[in-house]
């Protein structure tokens, strides 16, 4: 591993690049990655519609305003669905191309041409972006449909759909961009949409605060992307994928490491990875469809997309890659631990999302061996996690918007569809074969056990973490599932019977199944949870599909045999499930949370993430801004006010000379004349005699 110092190295980019010849893995796979062509096949010309349709939807719904209240929701659905149809067309036409022609840059127009910077707006159509487009538009459309029913009684439903459409458009800009700058536009766009939707019910102060928190933490990440953009411009003189990726292998490690770390900061912000993870739990303040679409299936995975997309950069920066893996591993455990203690069903799911994205980031950090699996897991996760969020929404729908799992229990009898679809998602996330999660997560664990550059310690550490995470995941997801759908009723069913429910104090609940508009998307997503993984894994299809972007990978052996890993994983998962079954389905779950161990209490408080942030960043930041404001008031404003006061005081003094007496006016004139004559006579200038 080369030792890398970041900043001074920028000046020696060429030098270092020469010092570090092609011993890096970058050179191995880079040649297999298909370079972009600029010849745009016919159907791809439709691609701008992908973005324009939902954007049009958002614009119409926002501009027409209240008049579109009646048809607004369905108009939003239509726009999203139309975008999906276009996505399908683009996908099918891409399938008809040979794999080495599947990376296309579709330049739309020149945007910024200033000096050395020439940025055009264009779309990059390749298997990676099309995968995302399909995921975003398909899951997005399903969630649009779900939201039609879920938000039915909200008087601002039309506005909600405007924001959802805006989100879809921004997300598509993000994944379709052909340069980091256009990607940044989408990146900010989804951040805005996320902010608007988390705070959708902003009349509750809490929700507004959550929205602000998400926005601010995302800004920290965005700064990373901005820094990366600057570094790219400084190092490559360009920010478009084609130039940057073509030049990256020749660039020095230091530059690539710096860019890689900056991009990682961006990814951490958007994907709620350690240490920028704190906003995701609070983001559950948004309506549940938002949590499903933005904070589970799509937007939060943008960080994974960014890392995978930037593969050529990371491959020249092993240090950055290692940091990526570490971040993924830490977040994976972090989220899993938090998930074990949360009683709020949405927050538990959010912790799970964080943990699962940790898996993806970890895989993306492993290099070419993990890229495809990161995306694979991202897709399957998009389905089963969205399905479970919609299931949670359905439970809330039936339980008066309650989210406390300690007051659920035995709901499987009352909402069968929700129970089954949720259960299928549960099995998928557990990684039980043959459900979707098995195919993707197991591959990640397997890849984590492959030693990189012959370093076995990495294989053991990260493989071990991934394995352990699988076990914990099984525990907390089973806990969530059993507490909600099994065990004893812990809600007031109104019967007053002492033998029935454990609680008679809460509001009377009438749990019921949700309407078809809500269950249908859940069913579709559940089908995906069951079959998508196997379908995509069939014949290594998905990995091959992505290979024009991620490159072909030489087969590498993990430190343990594959069959042993699979067995070990399954054993751990089953252990976790059994533990949860004994504790949350068989025994009685107390309504009042027990005090719990130190770890439980810490996990309930999100491992003190907010306290740390407040102590380390917020308070000092506040002190800093306060002292800056003070300084501004005292010194800058004070200086100016003092100057103004001085002018005023001088004016007051001088106006005393304007006393109204002609004699003093004449005296002033005379004195002035004498002074000027004196000046004229006294002054001797350089050219003077």
């Amino acid at each position: 591993m080369p030792t890398v110092t970041l900043l001074p190295a920028l000046a020696h980019v060429g030098e270092l690049g020469a010092l570090l010849p092609a011993t890096l893995p970058a050179a191995l796979s880079a040649q297999e990655v298909v370079p972009a062509t600029t010849v745009v096949p016919g159907p791809f010309l439709l691609a701008p519609l992908l973005i324009l349709l939902p954007l049009l939807g958002a614009a119409v719904l926002l501009l027409v305003g209240r008049r579109s209240d009646r048809w607004g929701a369905w108009f939003g659905v239509l726009m999203s669905a139309a975008s999906f149809v276009v996505a399908l067309v683009v996908f099918l036409s891409m399938l008809s191309l040979p794999p080495d022609e599947r990376v296309v840059d579709h330049r739309l127009f020149d945007w910024i041409a200033a000096g050395g910077l020439d940025v055009g707006v264009g779309l990059r159509l390749d298997p990676l972006s099309v995968t995302f487009v399909l995921l975003v538009t398909f899951v997005g459309t399903l969630i649009h449909v779900y939201a039609v029913a879920y938000m039915e009684h909200d008087k601002d439903r039309r506005r909600f759909f405007a924001y959802l459409n805006l989100f879809v458009a921004a997300m598509l800009v993000l994944v379709l961009a052909d340069s980091y700058l256009v990607l940044f536009v989408g990146w900010e766009g989804v951040g805005l949409a996320s902010y608007l939707l988390i705070g959708f019910w902003n009349h509750e102060r809490e929700n507004a605060v959550a929205a602000k928190k998400a926005f601010i933490m995302n800004r920290v990440g965005d700064l990373g992307l901005i820094v990366a953009l600057m570094l790219m411009f400084a190092g490559f003189g360009a920010v478009d994928f084609a130039t940057v990726f073509a030049d990256a292998p020749e660039a020095g490690t230091a530059l690539l490491t710096a860019i890689g770390l900056a991009l990682l900061v961006a990814a951490c912000g958007k994907s709620a990875q350690f240490p920028l993870q704190a906003w995701l739990g609070d983001a559950m303040a948004g309506p549940t469809p938002v949590s499903a679409l933005i904070h589970a299936a799509t937007m939060v995975t943008a960080g994974v997309y960014l890392v995978v997309r930037s593969a050529p950069i990371y491959e020249g920066a092993p240090t950055a890659q290692l940091v990526v893996v570490v971040v993924g591993a830490v977040t994976l455990l972090f989220g899993a631990i938090i998930g074990c203690a949360k009683d709020d069903i949405k927050k538990a799911l959010a912790a799970s999302t964080m943990s699962q994205i940790g898996y993806m980031i970890l895989a993306a950090g492993l290099g070419p061996i993990g890229y495809a699996f990161a995306i694979f897991h991202l897709v399957t996760h998009g389905f089963f996690k969205a399905g479970m969020f919609l299931g949670a929404g359905s439970v809330m729908h039936g339980m008066n918007d309650g989210v406390d799992m300690r007051r659920f229990g035995a709901l499987s009898r009352y909402m069968k569809v929700t129970w089954i679809t949720f259960g299928l998602g549960w099995l998928a996330i557990l990684g039980i074969p043959p459900f979707s999660g098995f195919w993707s997560k197991d591959k990640i664990i397997e890849a984590a056990f492959v030693p990189i550059d012959g370093q076995e310690w990495r294989a053991w550490v990260f493989g071990g973490v991934a394995l352990l995470g699988a076990g914990i995941t099984a525990f907390y997801m089973s806990r969530l599932f059993f507490m909600t759908f099994h065990g004893h009723k812990r809600w007031n069913d109104g019967s007053g019977s002492p033998t029935g429910p454990l609680s008679t104090d809460g509001p009377v609940q009438h749990p019921h199944e949700s309407p078809l508009l809500m269950t249908a998307p859940m069913v579709v997503l559940a089908v995906g949870s069951v079959a998508l993984g196997g379908l995509l894994a069939f014949g290594n299809g998905f990995v091959d599909w992505l290979s024009p972007v991620t490159g072909h990978v030489e087969h590498a052996d993990p430190v343990l045999p594959v069959w042993a890993l699979v067995t070990l994983t399954l054993v751990l998962v089953l252990l976790g499930v059994l533990l949860a079954w004994r504790q949350f389905a068989v025994s009685r779950v107390p309504i009042v949370p027990p005090r719990g161990s130190v770890l439980t209490r810490a996990a309930r408080k999100d491992l003190y993430q907010d306290q740390v942030n407040e102590a380390v960043f917020m308070r000092p930041g506040q002190y800093l801004t306060r002292s800056l404001v003070y300084g501004d008031r005292q010194m800058v404003d004070g200086g100016w006010m003092g100057l103004a006061g001085l002018v005023g005081a001088t004016g007051e003094k001088l106006r005393g000379m304007q006393n109204g007496f002609v004699r003093s006016y004449a005296a002033t004139m005379l004195a002035g004349l004498i002074v000027i004559v004196a000046v004229v006579l006294a002054v001797t200038t350089g050219t003077g005699s």
């Binding site: 103004a644 002018v647 005023g648 001088t650 004016g651 007051e652 001088l654 106006r655 005393g656 000379m657 304007q658 006393n659 109204g660 007496f661 002609v662 003093s664 006016y665 004449a666 002033t668 004139m669 004195a671 002035g672 004349l673 002074v675 000027i676 004559v677 000046v679 004229v680 006579l681 002054v683 001797t684 200038t685 050219t687 003077g688 005699s689």
Partner: protein
Amino acid sequence: MTPAAAFVAPTIEWAYLVPVIVVLVAGVVGVLVEAFVPDRARRAVQLVLALGALAGALTSIVLLWPDVLERNGVRVLGGALVVDPFGLAVQGIVVVLALLATLVVADRTSTKQDAFAPTGAAVPGSAYEDLARRRGLEQTEVYPLVLFAVGGMMIFPATGDLLTMFVALEVLSLPLYVLTALARRRRLLSQEASFKYFLLGAFASAIFIFGVALVYGFAGSVQLAEVRGALLGGTGLDGMTSLVLLGLVMVLTGLLFKVGAAPFHSWTPDVYQGAPTPITGFMAACTKAAAFGALLRVLYVVGQALPPDLQEKLVVALWVVAILTMVVGTVIGVVQTDMKRLLAYSSIAHAGFLIVALVGFGELSGFGVRALLFYLLAYGLATIGAFAVVTLVRERAPQPVVVPAEADLATVGAGAGAGTSGTAASAGSDVPDAGAVLGEATHLSEWAGLGRRSPWLAGAFALFLLSMAGIPLTAGFIAKFTAFQSAVAVGAWPLALIGVLASAVAVFFYVRIIVLMFFTPTPTPTPTPQAAGGPGTAPDGASSTGGGTSPVAALTSRVTVVRSEGFTTVAIAICVIGVILLGVLPSSVLDLAFEAAKFRP
């Protein structure tokens, strides 16, 4: 109207004198009109005569322009007058501004009273004055007086010798002294201002003529061309070049007095405040243009011929005056509370900026002249417009009889007419009772909320103020820019820097008025300085706290906007259009001004 044609003589090229003669003859005819035309028709005849003469002068200037440009100036009357492109351009500016100012002078507003005393000779507050007022007398001598002043102003920048310049100075000054004394209201203040102006003017004239004597002592001639020749050819009094320098400084002092440059500015605030507002506008714009024209001519024709060392001394003197003027104008302007005094200090500051454009007189590039001519026009338009607005914003007297509230006023605050809306139907006109409308509401506090009641008027005023402040897209910006640019071009960047800083300070008091008009609610009637018959003197040192307030006035006195007869509206509209056009499309006027940067000694 142009009997001049009859006087064709071989030695005198009368054609080039037509603009001046038209105006002066019209002035003489105006005096005859006063004597022979019956009362009723007098005003109309005078008005037609004055406007016609000014329009005729303007036409003849335009017609003369190509010829003068081609011949690069003509010496007329044996060199007493020099009609060169520069002189003609200044004449044109003076006439345009005088035309606008005359429109404002002529407006009697909806009160049917002009701004002038019915009988200027009456003792203020006497029964005779009261009688004259009640008889509804009008002082139509104002128009010939204005025409005489304009005639002097036209000769002033086009003179070829210092004596003619002195005569022109007096020709333009004497009518102004009289006009200053003619304010209809605050008679004592007006007369005092006039007297001060006269005394100090005489003092300045004395300095001027003393300077002329010294210059004559050196060169043996008062002709500018010959003084120049003596300097260049070394035929002057041997070893006494400092004599001409001293003489020049004194001549310039006399001229700087007229433009209101510090330390010769003391008369400006008092006179601007005391004079009838239309005359203040006329003075501020036209006198400044004419006097700067003369100043520039002396500097370019004689100053340029000075030996380099003396020239630099003169430049240093100009630096001192410029800095002093800018600083005094802005710094004291900041603490003013009276609109007319504030505009007076603003005009002092502008004199400073104009002098900044002058310091490059030693160079032959013409950029300074271009800047000066453009500045004079831009400043004149904004100034006449601003004073025209001031004439329309009036105080309403304490009203013993309750007057129906006007519809547009009744909505704001608890007004005087509260509870009397039953009689509102009788309020057909803007002004319910002519006697109730007094003089201008010149205290700044009285302008609060004007923007809400009269958005157009306040908007125009705001535009003029922005132009004076030098905000882009107004004429003032281009004017200041070219002035500072020409200073920087000759290396006088510290002057430009001070000018920019002074402009920044000045923005404060301009914007303060805009804020006052648009963003401050109309105050509920508060004690205001008693309007009529107030203390005769209102110098700065005393007026801010002085001025008796009466509780009766406090309850009913308020500010109203009177309707123009049309003349002022036209003048304001032209000024608005001019300020915007010069700000947005300045290039053609700048080119014209550059063409005019040619002197004939």
